[in-house]
């Protein structure tokens, strides 16, 4: 049978916006991509990056193209189809002592999505983004050609595709080295932190000794308590520390229904943040952790995005250069609170060096990410206020989380945009490949 596109309601993880899209879904990704104007993976980007520019512009769903094509146990080099998920890689490789060089905070992402967003993890301060480790990509270009690219072969296309949000071509295959790990368990330490100054100092200090760090902030605490939270640090456990057995498969729970909007009223969010903070009753906890509990705490609950109800939610993530200590982070949190922001989860992480991806998000500085439910009028205004501050601080936002940024704000944050656009124009002069996000932010035709 020839491949037929079908209609399907498409959204990112935030469940807003919704597009009644045309989907091409097949194990044969090259064939699907040939007729598609965008590729998408597991839809874990929050906003409109994985959505087609129009209801009649087909998008290729890569998730069935999930074969592992080559693995060299001597070097760890792995080549796989772009729809292979991190969940599968962990299932196959963790027990054998291998892990991806960079992992985001959920394992329900594809290699194509990890490349297109150039994802970062808790080890960014030492290992950079996923794209730093990618050795080669096979792409289907807008004109239908299939090409390989790497640092040495079409290097510009390679650097534009890493972090290029799918706009340079369809990623068909990804090659990168898996990392040997001493055991599949994590040795972790977490610490309750009283305020923002201590959090920022704690992250910077931990970065010197620990390969993986991240902070969680109670985003409803104000005044002297502003920025209080929990600082988590980890490393792979040595075989003599780790349990003998491999980590058991964790049971997952499912959110059965979409919650009513009221579930996220202010008192409930406060209670959640308080509970999360005080659950950590001792000041310091240390010990062996299940890798899923360390890397993917939210994955324990399938479809947790339904908790945010009918209107959906968004995440705002930005990075603020460190120029003057913790000032930027403090100003950001104060702006968030004064602009009426109300968040569930707020994650803070210090970034290391900027990577090779032309539009890749991370740069040295503090990254702050927070989730909040969408309000039709208040949310766009809140995002505007935050973006104005980020521009003033010389920072930038993460496209894979974005739904509401204005194009003029994005341009003001992204002096790199011209160079990226030039590469795109070279490989796709008719702008065949585009997304709802590129229409909104880069001025592509709808």
């Amino acid at each position: 049978m020839t491949l037929q596109p079908h209609r399907s309601k498409l959204t990112g993880w935030g469940r807003f916006p919704v597009v009644d899209g045309l989907v091409l879904k097949s194990e044969n990704l090259p064939a699907a991509a040939e007729r598609a104007t965008l590729s998408r993976g597991l839809g874990r980007s929050y906003g409109d990056s994985s959505l087609p520019a129009g209801a009649d512009l087909p998008v290729a769903d890569a998730t069935l193209a999930d074969r592992l094509l080559g693995f060299d146990p001597a070097s760890g080099m792995l080549r796989a189809e772009a729809g292979a998920s991190l969940f599968e890689l962990n299932r196959v490789f963790l027990r054998r002592g291998w892990f991806v060089p960079v992992s985001p905070g959920t394992q329900f992402v594809t290699l194509g999505g990890m490349t297109a967003s150039d994802v970062h993890g808790k080890n960014h301060h030492v290992d950079g983004c996923f794209g730093e480790h990618v050795r080669g990509l096979k792409l289907r270009l807008a004109d239908g050609r299939i090409v390989e690219c790497s640092d040495t072969c079409e290097p510009e296309l390679f650097r534009a595709t890493i972090g290029g949000m799918g706009l340079t071509g369809h990623v068909l295959e990804v090659e990168f080295p898996m990392r040997p790990i001493p055991s599949p368990w994590i040795w972790g330490e977490s610490r309750r932190i009283e305020d923002l100054d201590l959090m920022v100092a704690g992250l910077k200090e931990a970065a010197r000794e620990w390969p993986m760090t991240v902070g969680w902030i109670d985003c409803l605490a104000r005044g002297a308590k502003l920025g209080r939270g929990i600082l988590m640090k980890g490393r792979w456990a040595r075989p003599d520390e780790a349990p003998e057995k491999p980590p058991p498969r964790k049971r997952r729970f499912r959110v059965p229904i979409q919650f009513p909007g009221i579930a996220l009223c202010k008192p409930n969010m406060k209670a959640f943040n308080l509970a999360y903070y005080w659950k950590h009753i001792q000041r310091v906890r240390r010990g062996i952790l299940h890798p899923d509990a360390f890397f993917y705490p939210l994955d324990a609950l399938d479809d947790w995005n339904l908790i945010y109800g009918r209107r959906g939610f968004t995440q705002y993530q930005c990075v603020l250069p460190h120029a003057d200590g913790n000032g930027p982070a403090r100003r950001f949190l104060e702006r968030f609170v004064s602009a009426g922001g109300m968040g569930f989860l707020c994650v803070i992480k210090d970034f290391g060096a900027e990577g090779k991806g032309m539009l890749s998000f991370p740069r040295p500085g503090m990254s702050i990410a927070m989730d909040f439910p969408i309000h039709p009028t208040k949310t766009p205004t809140l995002v505007d206020r935050l973006n104005e501050l980020v521009i003033a601080e010389g920072g930038r936002i993460y496209l894979t989380k974005d739904t509401f940024t204005r194009p003029e704000h994005f341009r003001a944050m992204e002096p790199r945009l011209e160079a990226f656009n030039a590469v795109r124009r070279r490989w796709d002069p008719e702008v065949r490949i585009r997304s709802a996000q590129s229409v909104r932010l880069l001025g592509d035709p709808a």
């Binding site: 079908h6 592992l68 094509l69 080559g70």
Partner: protein, 245 residues
């Protein structure tokens, strides 16, 4: 286990092959697109199937390809004890009504081709004292139903054939496993609206592998479809005429 897999390049066949690979079964892949099968072979090796996993050309619409493919499997595996057929072709009733050539292909692949292939496989398994022949039919073959008249007819014929094989040859060591999937979310059904109880290929594969290991003659999957089909088989005609199921 030494198994020949027909149709492991996609869908439920791919999921089942991965489970067998993970437990170290020796595999041989047959199918119509040999370059693509090689990629599946590499996937299965990385997941634990003893290397090399070899492949051969075999097309449900080309019965002359059946014997050579199985001969080659016999040589490469030095004999096999299991044959799994997940290869199959689906089209909606509307497409089949409007395109007689497509209807001819679906009937030829899902009935004639599959049955003739099973005949070749059965002879080889019986010649070595038996083994397991696991074939994917469908709940569509359980009753004449409006949305699956032609496809269902082919699958009905296939199920009937497999039941006959089981009755005649089980005593001689041939364990026939007829799998009757309900709606499963694979590329085959990507354009269709999933009903309640739609299954995932990985869960189906786990259930089917258990049935293969135990030699169960018939398996509905997802399990809820056993109950659903029991009701459907017993509904009076005047109701079947009214409903669109």
């Amino acid at each position: 286990m030494k198994a020949v897999l027909f149709g492991a390049s996609k869908g439920m066949g791919r999921a089942l092959a991965r489970l067998m690979a993970a437990r170290g079964d020796r595999l041989f892949l047959i199918g119509r697109a040999t370059d693509d099968l090689e990629r599946s072979a590499r996937d299965l090796e990385i997941r634990g199937a003893p290397a090399p996993v070899k492949t051969a050309y075999c097309d449900l619409l080309a019965p002359e390809s059946f014997a050579p493919a199985l001969d080659q499997a016999e040589r490469e595996l030095q004999g096999f004890d299991t044959v799994v057929v997940t290869a199959g072709l689906f089209a909606t009733q509307e497409e089949l009504e409007n395109d007689p050539q497509l209807a001819a292909r679906v009937l030829a692949a899902d009935f004639t081709g599959t049955v003739l292939f099973c005949e070749e496989a059965r002879k080889r398994l019986l010649a070595v004292g038996g083994g397991t022949l696991c074939v994917f039919s469908s709940v569509a073959g359980e009753r004449g139903r409006k949305p699956v008249i032609l496809y269902g007819a082919a699958k009905a014929g296939l199920s009937q054939y497999l039941e006959g094989l089981d009755h005649k040859f089980r005593a001689r060591g041939l364990r026939t496993v007829c799998v009757k999937p309900g709606f499963v979310k694979t590329g085959m059904t990507a354009g269709l609206k999933p009903p309640p109880f739609a299954g995932q290929p990985e869960a189906v594969a786990r259930r089917v592998l258990r049935a293969i290991d135990r030699g169960r003659p018939e398996v509905y999957t997802p399990a809820a479809w056993r109950g659903v089909m029991c009701i459907i088989r017993n509904l009076p005609r005047f109701i079947m005429r009214k409903i669109e199921f």
